[in-house]
């Protein structure tokens, strides 16, 4: 469903140039669960940004379900974000003035599905927050905020979820809870690409891609969950 061909990303100009991605090719099938690992600055976030249309490629191509998306205009990409690709970030990025339920409903508001708070409610139950729906982000713990963010990512029923270090800000126990949530989602058929530093977490995924200096240096298939790296 996702195919990246010879993707390169160069930031800056002249002597300040940084090659963040260097000729990366990668594909993910439907129902895939890829974790991207590598040292800090190796280009992991850049790779997710390229897929999610947050950054423009310097060269190369990205296809989603057979459609080229890397050259879409800003306005055309809006439709990709409304149902094909969702993001989950390390910093959650919830709107502080809205409750958990309103934050989860937000993507539907932009799609003008104004009546769909039942689906949002369902998803908040799904992530175990049915007792927190009227709380604002400031009144929730990090783990709870990330669950809200995950519920929000799911509300448009996306085919691909991009998560950049979603457990990066959490203690081990909370991180494990979030990981098992991602695992369940993957079991239900969501395609997930996740950046992580943590091998413990990566081994729960189906495939590990290791980046270094903007290049893929290793791809490891994990046969079934629970495999050791």
């Amino acid at each position: 469903m996702l195919e990246i061909k010879n993707a390169s990303k160069i930031y800056g100009e002249g002597s300040a140039q940084v090659v963040a991605l260097n000729n990366v090719s990668l594909e993910a099938g439907k129902g895939g669960f890829i974790s991207i690992m590598g040292p800090s600055g190796s280009g992991k976030s850049t790779l997710l940004s390229i897929i999610g249309g947050l950054e423009r490629l310097s060269s190369g191509e990205v296809f989603l379900d057979g459609m080229r998306i890397d050259n879409l205009s800003e306005d055309a990409f809006v439709n990709i974000r409304r149902g094909k690709i969702s993001y989950v970030f390390q910093q959650y990025y919830l709107l502080p003035s809205l409750t958990a339920l309103e934050n989860v409903t937000l993507p539907l508001t932009f799609e003008r599905h104004s009546g769909h708070s039942e689906r949002a409610l369902e998803l908040l139950k799904r992530v175990g927050l049915e007792r927190r729906i009227h709380h604002k982000p400031g009144e929730l713990s990090g783990g709870e905020q990330q669950r809200v963010a995950i519920a929000r990512a799911l509300v448009t029923a996306p085919s691909l979820i991009l998560a950049d270090e979603p457990t990066g800000n959490m203690d081990k126990k909370t991180g494990d809870e979030i990981m098992s949530l991602f695992n369940d989602l993957n079991q239900e058929g969501h395609t997930i690409i996740m950046v992580t530093h943590n091998p413990e977490i990566a081994r729960h995924t189906r495939e590990i891609v290791v980046l270094q200096d903007g290049q893929i240096v290793e791809r490891i298939r994990c046969e079934g969950r629970g495999n050791q790296l």
């Binding site: 940004s49 947050l54 993001y87 970030f89 990025y93 919830l94 709107l95 993507p107």
Partner: protein, 396 residues
Amino acid sequence: MKLYQIVLKDIMRRKRRVLYAALGVVIGTMTVVGVLTIAFAGENRIYGQLEKYGANLTIIPAISRIDTKVGNLSLGTLSIGENYISESYLPKIREIADGEIRTALNIKDNEPISIIAPKLYVNAEVRGISLVVTGIQSQDELSIKTWWQVREGEFLKTDNQAVVGALTAELLKLKVGDGIPLNKSVLVVSGILEETGSSEDYQVMVPLATLQKAYNKEGLISSVEIRALCNACPVELIALALNQNIPGIKALAVKQIANTEMDLVQKVNRLMLSLAGITLVIGVFGVVNTMMTSVHERTRDIGIMRAVGASRWQIIQVFMYEALVIGVIGGVLGYLAGTLLAYGIGPLIFESASISYIPQFIPLSLGIAVAVAAVATVYPALRATRIRIAEAFRSL
């Protein structure tokens, strides 16, 4: 949940910033409402003065003066026509004046409408000082000179009384009860008028018939003042009809006098309005400034909205809803502040103008305020659409 609900919730979180932006709108609308309220009072004062002028029409004898010359030798000035109007024209004058008003305002009944006050001027010498003695019909005269006030004593009651203008009384050291010799007869001062600032301060008012008799001018008057008791009365038409139908007189519409003063007031009003316009523009810049800060502060939130599927147009809408709220708040506050401003400085601009608040300016004020806020939001909103998600999140 609707987009505007999201905006409202966000505004509740940033009340101070929104109020601050509204302040820029308030300054502009306040000035406009204030100026308009003052301007309104200024024009009303003129209308009030029109009322106070009393007469809408003056009738004087039609006298043409011709300088007669033979070659370079002047033979003096020849006056053609009478110096007086015959009293017998008064019924005709009333008939014409009331008739014109009836036609113009579509009035059916035959009650008298206008007040007609004839008077006779005579130059007389009183206690060695030459002054003008005016013969009046006291009821009619008082109906026109509504602002006359008797300082001491009372107004004319009987045939042998006189009322003295404030300055004349001072000049001649006259008191109530003093006698004024007038040709063959002697009149008693019945009252002294309050100073009015116009020519009657120098006059002595006596009953018309008494003056006519004393100076052998029975049946003669010098002028007639007419007050048509309505603002919409066709004074020019009345003047025209009088001039056409009664020989030997000249009827003038007094409105023309007020018109020049109205011109001045309107010039002042235009000046004030252009100042208000400048304040509006300054207000716009103020709001632009606050809105730009707001865009900056909300970079992260804008990034979040874009990331979960907001289009650029929806980001513009978010800011336009906010502009609407700012406009409504600014419009209401601007109306209140503008009205207060008018009460405060109005009397300094148009002396003796009585300021009153004008509820019809509320929608005007709201309209201006919303327009100002919307115009000021266009550029910041466009800037907000240029925020890219990646940058928004990196800026933290």
